[in-house]
């Protein structure tokens, strides 16, 4: 493969890694439209490459959050049981499913992510205090003290996590836009813990989908290599940049960009049909 294409893919990976770090995204919302609209790949090929990029980006940004204890490993492991089952189903569906249907799901996820990012009033739920059982966890509160929270509504959480896993593997998008509100609003996980743990979980969900695609021979290795290297570099850069700037207003504008990209993708679906 030409070095110029690999260099372009590395740049895309770096950009997605930085934006992912700044806006708390997995990077898939950038990889997928770019790979489909600019590089002309099929949705399943783009999804396979995007999942590798998401893993690289997740490793770069969340290994720090895991080491510092911001991401809750036990909570991530518990919820990933459902997400991984969904990811296996989603990747298997994507292999034989019609491209147009995959694109429609992708457009819906992009538009939903854009809408949630562009909203001014982001609703968050307060945690319920833990009682020392297995579903209770400790976290560092904003006032510097250590508090506890207990997971709520686990019976809703598991089907929702399976759904998030299916969407993630089917479209190649991390699924953080589904997991963070699910953990915070439904399971009452403190928002900061939910955000960090979601980033950790996204890498595990993407791993399963990426393996399905890799063993099916759909993964274009050179493209995936370029995206992965870029995403790893970009995510580390994004982790530093996010400390220097206030990304709240930028996040809203990026939400509008995603809605515009989803409309472009809708135009692409017109081309397919």
């Amino acid at each position: 493969m030409e070095l110029i294409i690999i260099a372009a893919l590395i740049l895309v990976g770096i950009l997605a890694g930085i934006l992912g770090g700044v806006f708390g995204l997995g990077g898939g919302v950038i990889f997928i439209p770019v790979l489909i609209l600019i590089f002309g790949l099929k949705p399943d090929e783009a999804a396979a490459i995007s999942l590798v990029g998401i893993i690289a980006g997740s490793l770069g940004s969340t290994s720090v959050q895991v080491t510092s204890g911001k991401a809750n490993v036990r909570l991530g492991l518990l919820l990933e049981i459902a997400s991984v089952v969904g990811a296996i189903v989603g990747a298997s569906l994507a292999i034989w499913m019609d491209d147009v249907f995959v694109l429609v799901v992708l457009i819906a996820v992009l538009a939903f992510t854009g809408y949630t990012m562009s909203r001014k009033d982001r609703r968050t739920a307060e945690p319920v205090e833990g009682n020392g059982d297995r579903l209770s966890f400790e976290y560092a509160a904003d006032d510097g003290t250590t508090k506890t929270f207990r997971l709520q509504h686990m019976s809703y959480a598991y089907p929702a996590c399976i759904g998030a896993g299916i969407v993630s593997s089917l479209t190649g998008i991390g699924g953080g836009a589904i997991k963070v509100p699910l953990m915070n609003l439904v399971m009452r996980v403190p928002i900061k813990v939910a955000t960090s743990t979601s980033s950790y979980m996204v890498g595990i969900t993407a791993l399963t989908g990426a393996l399905v695609y890799a063993t099916s021979g759909i993964l274009i290795t050179d493209y995936a290599a370029g995206i992965a290297i870029g995403a790893l570099i970009g995510s580390v850069m994004g982790a530093f940049i996010v400390k220097k700037i206030d990304a709240k207003h930028l996040k809203r504008y990026f939400g509008y960009v995603l809605i515009a990209v989803s409309l472009l993708m809708l135009y692409k679906v017109g081309g397919y049909t």
Binding site: S63, L77, D222
Partner: protein, 111 residues
Amino acid sequence: MTDKVSLWTGWAMRISAVLGAVVLVAGILLDSYDVTFYGIILMVVSPLAGIAVSMVALLVQREMWWVYVALLLIGIILFELVDWYYSAAVIIVASVLMLADYLLSRRNSTD
């Protein structure tokens, strides 16, 4: 707040990611499909390495129910890597151990 599980898991993910990136760069520079492919596999399985290390750390801390949770997750992920019956065996063993641990803890709490 940082316990052994978080610390070990984070470092396992970091080391595995750096190794994967080095192999990927080598693959691109050498223009070798095989080296690039192994680099991607190394990168992709990094989260799995993290889970395996989490399981060991949980085992060291004697948090057995969470060890079984990690084992169950590994079993499900293995479904794509090994023959299905190995994966099914791991999933069944982990599920039975989780259930037994749960029932034992409930009996102890009612006593």
